[in-house]
């Protein structure tokens, strides 16, 4: 498993374009912080940095991690990979997860920009529980990337879909305003989406003196597990269809 991750990260660092979302997206927090400063709401800096972090991680997963399988197809390594006795689905999952995990430092980056570039107060609550939530979120986002990978294999012109999976998801995930503020039918959907729980738990954990939201953390764990299971099973099924010749791999 480590070999899969190491090999993939080596490939990734050789193509600077693939790291662009990770390098530039966190800078959206500069735009957000400018708004906070103008309206004198410096106390919302931590909450906003969390939103920018989740936004960056999701975009990185959708635009880079989910393309792992499409890159293999493009480079002609998908077919030989599926013919080898090695577990390609597992390898792919590890590669997608390790790519998604590269976005974790963005949280520190956003908080540092808030503190040192804007001079905002940054409040950190429970660091261990925050780290647990960040890891859970990473696993969940990687699970979602596995689902997007399926689309990349099955649908021609999936780039439009990739684009459509950004801002609508940020709204649904309550990355700026909690999902509880969404209108009724959307709120129900958001409650079944792990990202909205991630955002809520991460925000709640930064409130000094507030009790740990252990119940919400439990719900998040269950939703993340479900997301990963669905992603993995869907990818395995799609790859089985590809092996059986059910999908045209080349135009």
């Amino acid at each position: 498993m480590l070999v899969y991750a190491r090999t993939h990260l080596t490939l990734l660092f050789r193509d600077p374009n693939l790291l662009a979302p990770l390098a530039v997206l966190p800078l959206y927090c500069v735009v957000f912080f400018t708004v906070l400063r103008h309206h004198h709401h410096e106390e919302l800096a931590t909450q906003t940095a969390i939103g920018a972090f989740l936004m960056s991680m999701w975009a990185h997963a959708v635009f880079v991690a989910a393309e792992v399988v499409d890159d293999d197809r493009h480079e002609g390594t998908l077919e030989p990979s599926m013919l080898t006795p090695g577990a390609y689905t597992a390898a792919l999952s590890v590669r997608v997860f390790s790519t998604t995990a590269l976005a974790i430092p963005v949280l520190a980056e956003a908080l540092l920009i808030a503190r040192f570039a804007f001079g905002f107060p940054v409040t950190l609550g429970s660091v261990p529980l925050s780290l647990v939530t960040v890891v859970l979120t990473t696993v969940g986002v990687a699970g979602a990337a596995l689902l997007v990978s399926c689309l990349m294999v099955l649908v021609r012109g999936a780039r439009t879909l990739q684009n459509a999976l950004t801002y609508p998801v940020y709204l649904l995930g309550g990355l700026i305003l909690p999902a509880s503020t969404l209108p009724e039918p959307l709120r129900w959907i958001a409650r079944g989406f792990f990202l909205s729980w991630s955002a809520d738990v991460l925000r709640a954990l930064q409130v000094a003196g507030a009790p740990a939201p252990l119940g919400s953390l439990g719900v998040l764990t269950v939703l993340v597990a479900a997301q990963v299971l669905v992603g993995f099973l869907a990818l395995r099924r799609v790859l089985t269809t590809v092996r059986a010749g059910g999908v045209s791999l080349y135009d």
């Binding site: 600077p16 374009n17 530039v24 959206y28 500069v30 400018t34 879909l161 459509a164 700026i176 305003l177």
Partner: protein
């Protein structure tokens, strides 16, 4: 042939090249979207993008902040959309057509500029569509009678930003790996300094940079119209001057890049 006839022939040749560029541009666009993917994917995404930034205004609990941010972000969709040409121009190198373009008798600058016009058209259409949607979803965003005037300024904003995008394309044609960084960092600079989410910085180095950016003046003019006030001619003239400046920079940049790439042989297979 008299000099008048020569000028007329040149103009007619240029118009024909632009015409072919527009046709090619239209087919490139058709290859990207179907009606369903445009409405259900692209337009939905852009609408949600504006709503997402507007939620930041809602979070500020400041009356008017939500509408201010919604208007700014809807109007800036067109200018930001034109940044697509920074990546699509690299396609000329990737597909190996740049070298043929350079040995042909056609003017390569006209071809590159006209082939990316679909980004301008898409930007104007999506911007106006989202602005109309916002006027319904977020009361106070736009005074309904102002929409036709806003459309006219939106065309100017998109053309001004297109000139800047072509200037940036002169960099991406040199170094194709830079295209994502150029597009993303320019987006953030415009969102932060052109008065999209907060009033633009009035002075200091950020204020000066803001004055030279597309959108800065035109968006202020749109805000005046949206509030039901008369058209501020000075702001429109300011945007026009910025557009001309960027057009000169785009012409110079692209000319130098194509000369350099020809000399170094960096014409294809980026």
């Amino acid at each position: 042939m008299t000099s008048q006839e020569r000028t007329s022939a040149r103009l007619s040749a240029a118009a024909r090249q632009i015409g072919y560029g527009v046709i090619s541009s239209y087919h490139d666009y058709r290859a990207m979207f179907t009606w369903r993917s445009w409405v259900g994917g692209w337009l939905l995404r852009l609408t949600c993008q504006v709503l997402f930034f507007a939620t930041l205004g809602k979070l500020m609990a400041d009356p008017g902040a939500e509408a201010y941010i919604a208007l700014g972000n809807a109007a800036v969709l067109g200018p930001l959309g034109t940044l697509g040409v920074v990546s699509s121009s690299v396609g000329e190198r990737r597909s190996g057509t740049l070298q043929y373009l350079l040995v042909s008798r056609a003017n390569p600058l006209l071809v590159i500029a006209s082939r990316g016009l679909y980004w301008v058209a898409d930007g104007i259409i999506t911007s106006c569509a989202v602005l109309t949607i916002m006027s319904v979803l977020i009361p106070g965003t736009v005074h309904s009678g102002a929409l036709p005037g806003i459309l006219a300024i939106e065309v100017l904003l998109a053309l001004c930003a297109y000139a800047m995008s072509l200037a940036l394309a002169s960099l991406s044609l040199r170094r194709p790996g830079s295209r994502m960084y150029l597009t993303a960092s320019t987006t953030i600079i415009i969102l932060a300094l052109a008065g999209v989410n907060t009033p633009p910085p009035a002075g200091g180095p950020w204020g000066v940079i803001g004055q030279l950016l597309p959108v800065r003046h035109g968006l202020q003019a749109i805000r005046e119209l949206a509030a039901g006030r008369p058209l501020p001619v000075g702001l429109v003239a300011g945007e026009l001057a910025v557009a001309l400046g960027w057009a000169v920079l785009a012409y110079t940049g692209l000319t130098l890049t194509l000369r350099r790439n020809t000399r170094s042989g960096a014409l294809s297979l980026s």
